[in-house]
């Protein structure tokens, strides 16, 4: 989960004197590998930022801490050692990916919670009204995920992920996806409508 793989590769190359990682960090390399069509790179990026986003999200349970959702992704971004050296293109790429990862985080959580409810639960956990009341939320998220998977428009999905799961603003989304704000507005509305259609079928 941490950028150690690179470090040990460098050790193997005999550059043990170099304690710090090279200027081009793992994230950059992974992003570029992904661009170049390396399928496994995406998985690695996921792993890299998943935990981080997960924890950052949890930390914001405390309502008094008012880091915005954008701050969440941004902060995650800052944690990568090469974040400052990431090129603009890679940075946009990162935010785009982070939004996708956030979707994963949220959906995974929903799956886990509903699994709890379906019997894999905890023996001494007293039946809690809150949890029961929560149930429809989990179900909603899982259905939403199903609906999202039915969409075939990548840009539409991307805009939705940025806005809904990562809470990014229109401007940020536009920047992350390298499209105009107007496009973001239009696609966001389109996505909502199409998803609402799918969910009410």
């Amino acid at each position: 989960m941490r950028p150690h793989g690179l470090s040990s590769r460098m050790l193997a190359n005999g550059r043990e004197d170099q304690v710090k990682l090279s200027e081009v960090g793992e994230l950059t390399m992974l992003l570029r590998a992904h661009d170049a069509g390396d399928g496994s790179a995406m998985e690695k990026i996921y792993n890299l930022i998943y935990t981080d986003l997960r924890m950052l999200a949890s930390r914001q349970i405390d309502a008094s801490r008012t880091l915005s959702a954008t701050g969440l992704v941004h902060e995650c971004y800052l944690r990568f050692r090469d974040a400052q050296t990431l090129e603009i293109k890679d940075r946009e790429h990162f935010f785009r990916l982070a939004a996708r990862v956030m979707r994963q985080v949220v959906i995974d959580n929903a799956r886990a919670r509903s699994a709890d409810k379906r019997g894999a639960g905890v023996p001494d956990l007293p039946l809690d009204e809150n949890l029961v009341a929560d149930d429809p939320e989990w179900m909603f998220l899982l259905e939403l995920e199903e609906a999202l998977n039915k969409l075939d428009d990548e840009r539409l999905i991307a805009v939705f992920e940025c806005r809904y799961f990562a809470g990014m603003s229109e401007t940020e989304t536009a920047s992350a996806l390298d499209v105009s704000t107007r496009t973001v507005q239009r696609e966001w509305q389109n996505a909502r409508k199409r998803l609402a259609d799918l969910l009410t079928e």
């Binding site: 989960m1 981080d52 800052l78 949220v106 959580n109 001494d124 007293p126």
Partner: protein, 936 residues
Amino acid sequence: MTDRDEILNRLRPGAGLALLQQSEAKQLAGLPGRVLGGYRVGRLLAEGGMSHVFLGERTDGEYERTVAIKVIATGAFSPMLRDRYELEKDILSRLNHPNIAHLYDAGNTDEGWAYLVMEYVEGTTIDVYCREQELSAEGCVDLLLQIASAVSYAHRHLIVHRDIKPSNVIVTNDGTAKLLDFGIAKLLHGSDGQTTIGGIMSPIYASPEQLQGNPVGVESDVYQLGLLLLVLLGEDVQSLQRPVPSLVERLANERSLSVSPALRANLPTDLIVILEKALRTDPAKRYLSVETLISDLRNFRTGYPISARPPGAWYVATRYVSRNRAAALVAAISSCAIIGVSVGYTIELSRSEQVAASRAASSERMLSAMTSILNETHYQLIRSGAVDGEPKDGIIRNEPLRYVLQRTEQVLEQELTQEPAARAQLLHLQGTTNAVLNELEQSLAKLSEARKLAQQLDDTELELRILLDVASTLDHQGDLPGATETVAGAFAHPAFATADPELQSRALVMRGRLAVNGGDYLAAREDLHKAITELEGHPAGPTTLLADAYKIMADTWLVPELIEEGRTWALKSVDAYTRAAGDRYYGLRSAYSAVGWTHQAHGEYEEALAKFSQARDISDYNFGTTSRNTAAEMNNMAMSLRGLGRFDEAVEMYEQCINIYQALYDKPNYQLAVSYSNMGNANADRGNMATASDNYERGLELSRQFSSKSERVRALLHNNLGRHLVDLGDLEAGKHNLEESLQLKSARFDPDSPSIARTRLALAEAALQGGNNEQAAALTVQAGVALEKAYAQKPWRLGRLREVQGRLALADSDFTRAATLLSQARDMRREEFGVGHPKSLYPSLLLAATALTQGDHDSATSWLERSAPAKQLAATHPTRVEWELLHLRTLRSAGDTEQALAAARQLRSVLMTTYSLRNDWLQILDGVNETPRAFI
């Protein structure tokens, strides 16, 4: 509202994230009443950024204990980390400090959340406490010191906190500050010492290296303690750290956090300096440890000067450290064993925990400090390949050692104010470096202070090492008895028998060195042999200590002029020094010098000159061109130049030596005395007899003004002066000096040593000149036995003996024997000094005299012609005078009265001014006693 509308409403920006967060909050709310690891979860006490803290109590009712249960509602641990988690938990639960909230237990809930059962601390968070109590800056510092001592304690147990922030410090009603969550960050994030991805810490309070995902060590806690203090003092840290882009920019440019202008106006300058040093972006530029920070904060509180200072210009100098220089540098300070250790630790140091693991707090600091010196002077630069080649300016040119000394002093001042162990080590390093630079008084002062500290600390090993270095310095100072006593003290130390073998060897080498100086070569060899046996077994190859031992072993043979054995050891020492410390190590000076001496002793003056010159280069490089060591090598070079007949250069070189010595010392010392005496020899070579007399007298006069380093020096001075006086015809004074020298030599040297024999030979020459042939013969026989034995393999060294033997034969009118001996002498002298050297010409003159005494005019003229180069010598040179006298005699014997009278007139003025006491010569001049006194 339709379903569709409701769905559209749900699909609003950020709603996905919000659902996640709500779900977790609700999940947590269900925790009270459940049992976690033997504790029942009670009411919610606090919600933190990432965790929820519940009250808890034991379920078994065995004893009452109220605890705090902290639940970290995040993603689960990877199973891989479970074992590690258990281990860490055990370590953390052993932390026992009044300012650390104790950890009782830790585990995972069924949801996979981590929970920690901790000591329940009732009170307020430290920032609130400071505000409510309206604490002064001093009060805040005192409170922070409690926390810092807890952190320092934990560091000694290899635990770095990583997440020091106001909400983690609770102050109880009685004013005790307690640090929560020790090591939790690591507990939750595995073993690798990094804690960034996963973001458990609060970004506002994260150290720069945490934010950048770099390895995190004790420096991170230093930073966070600094930041905590800043918060307590009223700084709005959040605004300092925001906005985020400026934080990124600050990190990218390695700009350090600075105290805001508003707060700055209200704080004492020292406190600002302390804060800003703790808060530097580059971990290496912060306080090297929490103890150093504590020390400065205490100094601030008690009004002592603090250690933190802005970085100085010295750093620039490090750019010019070249590879070789660096190697020599490390070697130079390796006499302080701890340096050797710290080099090894440099790589490790990036993982500060390992340093903490290996040493108690004080040594860790010391190591860090040492590592800084080494880093800055060479290590990083070499490794990064940033430097190579020669220095670009004069900053440290020729003086890397002095540079180390200065750096050590700076570190001492900057980093260590009170901490005695580290201070002792650094003082020791300073003292030894002082000694290498021949700053003997400073060296003794530093070492004495270091020794006191070592005694207070009960650090016997350090004390022993210091004792040995004290002895070394005393020896340099010429205080042989003091040095010997000090070394004896080390051997008698109760801890010596069980000390490190390397230390024992060091002591043996030192005692060997002192024994050499005291003239006890057998004892020296015994000690050195033991040390060498031990040290040669060292798996890492030769050390400089082994090279030292070889070198001193060489001295045990060279000083009594057992050249072959001496050269073997001297060459070994050159090899060992080079392998251990590179080809510019300062110790190589004396090693090259020793090899030079063996060449000198063999009459290989060109080779000797080359070695001495190498030795001088090493000295120039390490000590500067006007150092004592450089002067010593110039002395040696001058000696070789004399052997080569380059007298003017020799005199010039002696003059330079003398200038150096006079600039270096305000008091006379033996080097100066010896230089004068040697310059006397060179001046006599040039025929400047009067100047030579002055030189000799001056040398001896100086030797009376200092307590001589060793009586060897006095023996040399008396010998030189004695021979000169004999040359001048002052036989009584000459004999007196020679006898004095003989006595001094006999007390030190083997009776058979060539050195003693040479003085005897000089006495024989004096006796011959005085007409006391029997005494001369007796002395020559004594000297001859020793010299023949010593130079069995080097017959050409017997030239002077043959000369004297030939003169004795001549005095006995045994002309055939005289001619044979003098021919031998001539060949030997020519082989040793070359054809044109005055010493090579002299036997020819004696052969001429032999022929003349026999009445063989033609042969005499022939020998005179062959020794005609003597006419090129100065009019006052003894060999020139001898030639002129013989020439006079041939003129007379040829009956050429007119020319003889003219020659006699010229000679008379020379003899009257310079050789008024040479009765033998004056008699020849006056034509008295032509035949009976047939020697010259």
